[in-house]
Symmetry: C2
Subunit: 484 residues, 2 copies
Amino acid sequence: MPKLPDPLIAELAAVVGAAHVQTDDAFTACYVSDWRRNFPGAARAVVRPGSTAEVSRVVAACAARGVPVVPQGGNTGLVGGSTPDASRREVVLSLDRMTAVRRVDPLDNSMTLEAGCTVLAAQEAAAEAGRLFPLSLASEGSATVGGVVSTNAGGEQVLCYGNTRDLTLGVEVVLADGRVLDALGALRKDNTGYDLKQLFIGGEGTLGIVTAATFKLYAQPRKVVTAWAAVRDPQAAVELLARLGGAVGERVTAFELIGRQALAQVLAHGTPGMRDPLAGDYAWAVLFDVSEASALMDPSPAVEDVLASAMEQGLVLDAVLAASGQHAHDLWALREHVPEAQRLDGPSIKHDISVAVSRIPEFITEAGAALEALVPGLRVVCFGHVGDGNLHYNQSKPVGMPDAEFRAREEAIHDTVHAITARMQGSISAEHGIGRLKQAAFLHYKQPLALELMARIKQAIDPANTFNPGRLLPHTLPAPRPSL
Amino acid sequence: MPKLPDPLIAELAAVVGAAHVQTDDAFTACYVSDWRRNFPGAARAVVRPGSTAEVSRVVAACAARGVPVVPQGGNTGLVGGSTPDASRREVVLSLDRMTAVRRVDPLDNSMTLEAGCTVLAAQEAAAEAGRLFPLSLASEGSATVGGVVSTNAGGEQVLCYGNTRDLTLGVEVVLADGRVLDALGALRKDNTGYDLKQLFIGGEGTLGIVTAATFKLYAQPRKVVTAWAAVRDPQAAVELLARLGGAVGERVTAFELIGRQALAQVLAHGTPGMRDPLAGDYAWAVLFDVSEASALMDPSPAVEDVLASAMEQGLVLDAVLAASGQHAHDLWALREHVPEAQRLDGPSIKHDISVAVSRIPEFITEAGAALEALVPGLRVVCFGHVGDGNLHYNQSKPVGMPDAEFRAREEAIHDTVHAITARMQGSISAEHGIGRLKQAAFLHYKQPLALELMARIKQAIDPANTFNPGRLLPHTLPAPRPSL
């Protein structure tokens, strides 16, 4: 018996054009699953509106029929927040046709882009105007403006410029009834009521669909001093960061910690020519950038000064300053190759945690001891943005342990790491958000009162649970307890 | 007939001690009216809890009886947001006994303070740890941590360090049922759900009572280059700011525009010894600071470079760099004396507006022409934080106009300025918030959908309207329109 035509499809086609409403699995494949294939799904349709007005009408049409809408940007998130479940009930609303740069204003140091612009395109639009858009991610070629706003993406320069939230001056949002909230203004100061945009930044598409955003722009650095330093231990790394900040101020644009295990995997699995920047198997190293916007000033002497006194006092054991752009690039390549090297090394378990910067050493000590007790021989691959208190605290299986045995311990390892993180008032998801992947841990570790307030806000803004149901907050929201 | 004892008073006394529950008008006078005496009020009681636990029990007791609670910090706000109405029904909850510095962590560059700490005490706590807390306000000796968080205070260094929102890493909040939301963590990155603290920052005490906050700290500047420059016009001021930023990056810590009328009033009513920094009656001047954290770097040559080329091109007409700390202090004294000089000059009308920085010149031209047409001879006193797009765009009465006639035009002048601001997607309250003073304009100019969302949030978080009823949002909230 032939399938009856879906009336919603015809309605959506009337809004965006038949070519932009797809139900054919061959076409929808890249929209219904994330690239790690952790959350294979199937959509009732993939709709690709070309304007905010079309997004508004698509949402209204779906909401009127009680059809859930899953907003999608570059689909580079890794937590199952931007793909449909397997029910074929959900409509994927992709912003990938909305790529306009609406305005770039170098005098105001701001720009307004549509949600489908990639982060790379955003960087290029700013650069053409002689300015810097400082958001920088591994996925920047595919990740989109709407996606980074909705997930409050972090990246490599948060230490100096902040997360996406800090870079966002305004947003345009389509609500669950199709109405459009225009909060795109480029204001640096505005105290007229609650700052509504903050709910949609990092809201994971559960409260509204971000269709455009206005961002801050910055001065382009003219010189970057890059250094690789072996440090006594994580405590020395944190102290070095504080000294560096005290000596050069807010110019420290990146400060990464790299444990020996991470470097060893890179050297074992890396590309030809990769080698340890320093002689001696130091247990811990930091890689940092100090950037300078002025052509008339050079931070190198101040950086050398800090490193020299830190060496005298035993915080730094050895260090090298990049002698050229190529040298700096080679040093960063070691850091950026860590995830790939760990993949090549075999099965691994990943965590994306944060604690107060000053508690990083305590975290590494406690978690390391707890994991060794849990799984003797477990190899901790510890690296990340220590300047933000954010570690990619990963584990590779003990040498010789069968994969299945390692996988069997995965939950216990997650629990151990997350419990220590929570005890230290840390975050179990510093960068990647909750989506579906981290919901169980989120519900377990977040303060119940905070969860209740989030549920009340979701009910206040999207009462029919039209947007991204079951992502971030569970399908059935806890009933709000009466306030009195 | 003797007044019956108020059972609530006894209940509150049992929580905080009788000495800290006051109903005597002589004592409560400074709590029930702002210092401009624009909103004289009378409280059922002024309660001064000594701890978060006491705040929690006081709020629960008031809420249980349906008694409105008006949270109060330093009571330096000027919009009627922190004082009771005249009904004697409202309880003022003052945080002025909660002044503990809970922690200062120079390695983490953060500190946690209780709500009653003054901004000055916060600056001092940071300085003792060798760090900078960059929030700086005229009222910093009285304004409190809880107050600046609840009003998202701005001040003099927003251009570089942001508003209070940008400085706030975490908050502790007592909700309307007395429960305590603990979001005090010092995390630089945390993507676990909606960022709840953002609702309480700038919430004007309508959603919860901020009892403590965690702030970011920064490096202390070792050198500040201060310059006073006469500029061709406001457009030249904006272009100079952009060039300065391009040349020295994010080191421009203040950039103020000062119109001739403002300077003339200062010179007419100023303290002995105050004089025009430059010969020649230039119509517009800017006063700016460029700060440097490094002892090994001096931004002066870069600043001189920018000023020199700006003079060649006619943007800058004349300029002077402060030759000493005293000289810099004298230049800033001119700027800081403007409000007092305007008061001494006679009746005035004030606006606290913001637009995109690049639209400042357009705003000044349009508003100036509209006001001259409305009230010929009106003297526009234009000055403020042009680097933030924020002008204190004030008016003094035409020479010889009777005060009564000037006052009679006040509403028309407000409407003219606010209408132009709104047409330029600006803010009618950049720094001071809404409270009661600006509620009518807020309700008139804010997008209705934004007002509706704010009302839904208020109902979701404080459904009984216990906190600051009638401030920011009106007493009777618009009924939320069903989302579908």
